[in-house]
């Protein structure tokens, strides 16, 4: 059984068809990278998985269970999400950003939650910033906190929506390093990214999307070094300059 099964996924915004039929599985421990030009539907696909966008048609299964409006809140606790613009809660301290989810959604023991949150901050190298507010952190630090926040819920998979696109270039590395460590530890990850180097190094599978379809998929080497489709070649020639 796959961890995520996507079947016949379609999504339209009004008359605009963004996803035109996506079928895709993600296996446990797999790192799936989604690449493609902007407007290709890759972020929309990711957001449909945890229903931040309501699919127009198609089904999503997590651990074999169909995701519906009714069970979405409990399904989301299995899927962490990391956003392009971090979306940390500005009125909460760094530590509180990590604990507010588990405290209110899982209602577990407060001391344990705090202890675990501190361990996660250590893991992303920000234990010293636990009592700071997000506005006092750099972009790279904020995104590392956002990853720790997602991990605090003990998710089975983490969805990354262009996690480094809003960062200054010198901060991209520190975020990618945290993500590489996660991958090594066997975390299941779905990553929408423009970082081809990261995809080549870390991904088990790469999908190239364009015009609402999956155009080509395979190992990083197959898709990124030896693309078969003309549109993939065209795209890669532009980003790899």
């Amino acid at each position: 059984m796959s961890m995520i099964e996507i079947k016949g996924l379609e999504k339209s915004f009004g008359d605009l068809e963004v996803l035109k039929g996506i079928d895709q599985n993600v296996e446990e421990g797999e790192v799936l990278c989604i690449v493609g030009p902007s407007g290709s539907g890759k972020s929309t696909m990711l957001r449909c998985i945890n229903r931040l966008e309501e699919p127009t048609a198609g089904e999503i299964y997590i651990d074999g269970e169909l995701v519906t409006d009714k069970n979405i809140d409990s399904m989301r606790t299995k899927m962490g999400m990391v956003f392009q613009s971090f979306n940390l809660f500005p009125h909460k301290s760094v530590l509180e950003n990590l604990t507010i989810g588990p405290l209110n959604v899982k209602k577990a023991n407060e001391a344990e939650i705090k202890e675990k949150a501190m361990k996660l901050l250590e893991r992303v190298g920000l234990a010293a910033k636990a009592n700071e507010y997000p506005r006092n952190l750099s972009g790279g630090q904020q995104q590392r906190v956002a990853i720790a926040r997602a991990l605090a819920m003990d998710p089975e998979v983490i969805l990354f929506d262009e996690p480094t696109s809003a960062l200054d270039p010198e901060m991209v590395g520190e975020v990618l390093d945290v993500m590489k460590d996660l991958a090594k530890e066997g975390m299941t990850m779905v990553v929408v990214t423009h970082e081809m180097g990261f995809a080549k190094e870390v991904a088990n599978k790469v999908i190239f999307m364009d015009g609402g379809y999956i155009v080509e998929q395979g190992t990083p080497d197959a898709v990124l070094n030896h693309p078969q489709e003309a549109r993939t070649k065209d795209f890669l020639s532009k980003v790899l300059v």
């Binding site: 809140d73 999400m81 809660f89 009125h91 507010i100 959604v105 006092n136 819920m153």
Partner: protein
């Protein structure tokens, strides 16, 4: 000059009533305003319409007329339907006065709160929901606490406005600042000292409050620019 001082002191006797009515009304207005703002944000068409009609009716009629209807008309109507209702059983005419001020304020507060909620980046709601929070939980823990900071100055301005608007309550028998002055004027005919006194009594409430708001806004502006 003595007569001006007397007018001021007489008007000041109305300050406790004005302050108490305004305070209860602003709390009532904020609570009801939040409820209306949430109604107007829900997917339910019925709740949206209720909130919209409420705001239109309140904003479309003078508070004085609302006060007269509430204080005089409502007991009359209920009694004509056979009820034994009277405001005196609930604590007197100050009760409909507070209700009217609160309901009036709620219509304005709901707009303020709604714009405050809309000013919060939608990524905040998405981040909260992606942690498995329900919509209500996300509103309570993430959106509303942030919206409160945005709307605090507008909220305080509404309080200043409300303090001044309570002056219409003299018409329904509540002896607040203006009514103190009017009653004194009606027996002494010291018209000008009476109303100057009334104006000064309002000013000692509203001007310090406005200064506090300005101070807060400056502080926030400094903090934002420092961040």
């Amino acid at each position: 000059m003595d007569v001006y001082l007397k007018g001021f002191l007489i008007a000041c006797k109305g300050i406790p009533t004005t302050v108490v009515v305004s305070l209860i009304a602003i709390v009532l207005g904020a609570a009801l305003g939040l409820l209306l703002a949430l109604c107007s944000q829900t997917k339910s068409k019925i709740l949206q319409v209720i909130a919209k009609v409420y705001v239109d009716v309140i904003r479309g009629t003078p508070m004085l007329v609302q006060a007269l209807i509430m204080a005089y008309g409502v007991p009359w109507l209920l009694q004509s339907w056979g009820s034994a209702f009277k405001w005196d059983n609930l604590g007197g005419l100050v009760v409909p006065a507070v209700i009217v001020c609160g309901c009036n304020s709620a219509a304005y507060m709901s707009e303020v709160i709604r714009s405050g909620i809309q000013a919060i980046d939608k990524g905040q709601m998405e981040a909260a929901r992606s942690l498995g929070m329900t919509h209500g939980m996300a509103m309570r823990l993430i959106i509303i606490p942030q919206a409160v900071r945005v709307i605090l100055p507008a909220f305080a301005n509404e309080f200043v406005t409300l303090i001044k608007e309570t002056s219409v309550l003299g018409y329904v028998g509540v002896v607040e600042i203006l009514r103190r002055g009017q009653l004194w004027n009606s027996s002494s005919f010291e018209t000008f000292p009476a109303y100057i006194g009334v104006a000064l009594a309002y000013m000692i409430l509203t001007i310090p409050l406005s200064k506090i708001i300005n101070g807060y806004e400056r502080k926030v502006a400094r903090r934002e620019s420092a961040a």
